[in-house]
């Protein structure tokens, strides 16, 4: 983008973004920003970086809980379905054997458990992350194209009580960001 937006031209501000060269630099910056009292921020990296989410204060990852619930629902639903079929809906008397033939239910119960748990893993991960989300303000920063390739970004959002556009930009520069910019909302 050739045209540089000046602060007065930006109608609403999503936040201030700093660009970093390495995952270590980004993580250190996040830790310092958190220590400084910033809370509403997000870090962006082209790959998972150990400890990065924790550095910006993320604590509760509920995906595992959702998957556990999904698995339990799948297993009990599968077992219930088989009981319904073989005992109530379509009972077969096979040589006087019990209708509730639980050993034969194990494979399907197991598969239903895996199926529902896996689908829950996908759906809960996307839902908690708020995806799909085709538009997000951070994409307004032209350099952000590289957030999925080789650059690391920290965005302090304007909803943070401590956010003051000029001060926060200066703070990001102070953290060692190679480039800083304002993110239009």
């Amino acid at each position: 983008m050739s045209h540089e937006l000046t602060l007065s031209e930006i109608p609403a501000i999503h936040g201030a973004m700093g660009e970093f060269e390495t995952p270590e630099a980004l993580r250190a910056a996040c830790q310092r920003a958190y220590a400084e009292g910033y809370r509403r921020m997000d870090a962006y990296a082209p790959m998972p970086v150990a400890g990065l989410a924790e550095a910006i204060g993320f604590r509760k990852n509920k995906v595992a809980l959702a998957v556990l619930i999904g698995g339990i629902c799948g297993a009990s639903g599968g077992y219930g379905l088989l009981c319904w079929i073989t005992i109530i809906a379509y009972p077969h008397n096979v040589g006087g054997r019990p209708l509730h033939s639980w050993p034969a239910y194990i494979p399907i119960t197991f598969e239903c458990m895996i199926l529902l748990a896996a689908l829950t893993a996908l759906v809960s991960m996307l839902a908690m992350n708020g995806l799909p989300k085709p538009y997000h303000p951070v994409f307004n920063v032209p350099a952000f194209d590289r957030a999925s390739i080789d650059k690391f970004f920290l965005c302090i959002e304007s909803t943070d009580p401590k956010f003051e556009t000029e001060d926060t930009l200066a703070f990001l520069r102070d953290l060692g960001a190679t480039e800083v910019s304002v993110v239009p909302a």
Partner: protein
């Protein structure tokens, strides 16, 4: 849109293999691996390798053969195949088991080796997962085509219907319906979850608006947030943890199709473990059959290195030995049981009308692969490739031997029979091979066949020097 350094996308010279000790060539950066892998997808049509064009065309011809064979089957019924009593299972079930076995290596590489933290899985897991998905698609076709009335295949699923009929969930064949459909779905989910961050990379590297939109929609707006990555990694880990018992259960249930019956040659407890080992054996053979030409055609020798090929060859050797143990135990117990039918079955398997298939099976699956003990053989890529094809054939013969030789001598000699596959059997089989290859060709052309973000992690791990800062003016 910023244009990344495009010259890195298409290296002019042949990139050498860094050898058996490294999983990545020297001098790679986050950007260079991105551009190299995305470069395969963004290669202009005019510069698509000729071999890709020819290969995709041939595969497409076979897809049409499959359509023809299926169309004729729907018209005339399974009488066009060579199956009849006593050999009711024929090619359909042989190919079903063969294809689903091939799929298992993909899950093993992506899930089990992920949990075991095997770093060499990184550059081949995406490709193997795609292979799994396409192999399961081919596998799933066969039991449906074998139904006689394939258009009623939905009767296999339990749903409330006006006939008040329900499938029999005590039958291994019904277990199979759940196992294979779950396996296909979970493999798709696992593959897609792995693709999301890479689709975002493609979106951001695209140089045309419609390409950017195409990958943008597929990437669901992924932006690489640290919190997203945290949940993403947890979901991925859980999917790996779920896929691991799933892959074991699927081939166990496939083996139950045989083992739960009372037929000599099928009714053995060794079937589940030996089927699973055989599945992994054939799957790794198929991975090698496919990635060796792929890395040569697309000049990816520094991303898929001799280290990957050697590791896969070692897995083949190991699982091949488990399979050999399975064969010898089958033979031993048919003799040791003292059962007349069991011992006749095995003697007939080795010396009867289908004896040559058994001899070929031992040659392809046990004798020749022992060459892999030698490091020189494992480092000879052409030899490994030839061996991988031999093992693919051997594993197909294994299923032929298990299905046909066990069925063709019934308990009563008056019910004995011979199964000769017809041209429609072969056409359907060749057609699925073409279908599989065609999907692989499309996949390589349209999606990143190597997991880019995981290779970036390898780059980070190996602390390869970062490239100097690029001027990103805002």
């Amino acid at each position: 849109m910023q244009t990344p350094e495009v010259e890195e996308r298409e290296p002019k010279e042949l990139i050498p293999d860094p050898g058996p000790s490294s999983i990545l060539g020297p001098g790679h950066t986050y950007n260079s691996v991105t551009q190299r892998i995305a470069g395969v997808v963004f290669l202009p049509w005019k510069r698509t390798p000729k071999k890709w064009m020819v290969g995709a065309f041939i595969a497409f011809c076979f897809v049409n053969l499959l359509m023809l064979a299926m169309g004729y089957l729907f018209l005339r019924g399974i009488g066009i195949w060579g199956v009849n009593i006593p050999i009711g299972w024929g090619f359909a079930i042989i190919n079903f088991v063969w294809w689903i076995g091939i799929g298992h290596a993909g899950t093993l590489i992506s899930a089990v080796f992920f949990l075991l933290k095997q770093d060499w899985r990184t550059s081949i897991n995406r490709f193997s997962e795609a292979m799994t998905l396409f192999a399961v698609a081919c596998a799933g076709m066969f039991p449906i085509l074998h139904l006689g009335r394939p258009w009623l295949a939905y009767w296999l699923f339990p749903y409330p219907n006006s006939m008040w009929l329900w499938p029999q969930p005590r039958s291994p064949l019904e277990w199979d319906v759940f196992a294979v459909s779950t396996y296909g779905t979970v493999s798709l989910v696992f593959w897609y979850v792995g693709l999301i961050p890479d689709l975002a990379s493609l979106r951001d590297s695209a140089n045309k608006l419609w390409i950017q939109r195409f990958y943008g929609i597929l990437s669901l707006g992924w932006r690489g947030s640290a919190i997203h990555w945290h949940r993403y990694q947890k979901a991925y880990l859980l999917l790996a943890g779920l896929s691991t018992p799933l892959v074991l259960s699927v081939h166990t249930i496939v083996s139950f199709d045989f083992a739960i019956s009372i037929l000599p040659g099928w009714h053995t407890t060794i079937f589940p473990p030996y089927f699973v080992a055989g599945a992994i054996y054939s799957g790794f053979a198929m991975v090698l059959t496919l990635i060796i030409p792929l890395r040569a055609w697309y000049n990816l020798r520094d991303l898929i290195t001799l280290r990957h090929i050697e590791a896969a060859a070692k897995v083949m050797l190991g699982t091949g030995l488990i399979v050999a143990y399975g064969y010898s135990m089958e033979a031993f117990f048919s003799w040791y049981s003292g059962d007349k039918y069991e011992s006749f079955m095995y003697w007939n398997r080795m010396t009867g009308p289908y004896g040559f298939t058994y001899a070929l099976l031992i040659l392809c699956n046990i004798a020749l692969p022992q060459a892999l003990w030698s490091r020189r053989v494992r480092h000879n890529i052409v030899l490994v490739w030839i061996l991988s094809i031999i093992i693919n054939i051997g594993m197909w013969l294994e299923r032929f031997v298990i299905v046909v030789t066990s069925l063709h001598r019934d308990f009563l000699p008056s019910s004995w029979g011979i199964y000769i596959p017809t041209k429609w059997d072969w056409a359907t089989y060749a057609g699925t091979l073409g279908f599989f290859m065609f999907l692989i060709f499309l996949f390589v052309r349209w999606l990143p066949s190597i997991s880019i973000f995981e290779v970036r992690e390898v780059v980070h791990h190996e602390e390869v020097s970062m490239e100097p800062a690029v001027e990103g003016k805002i």
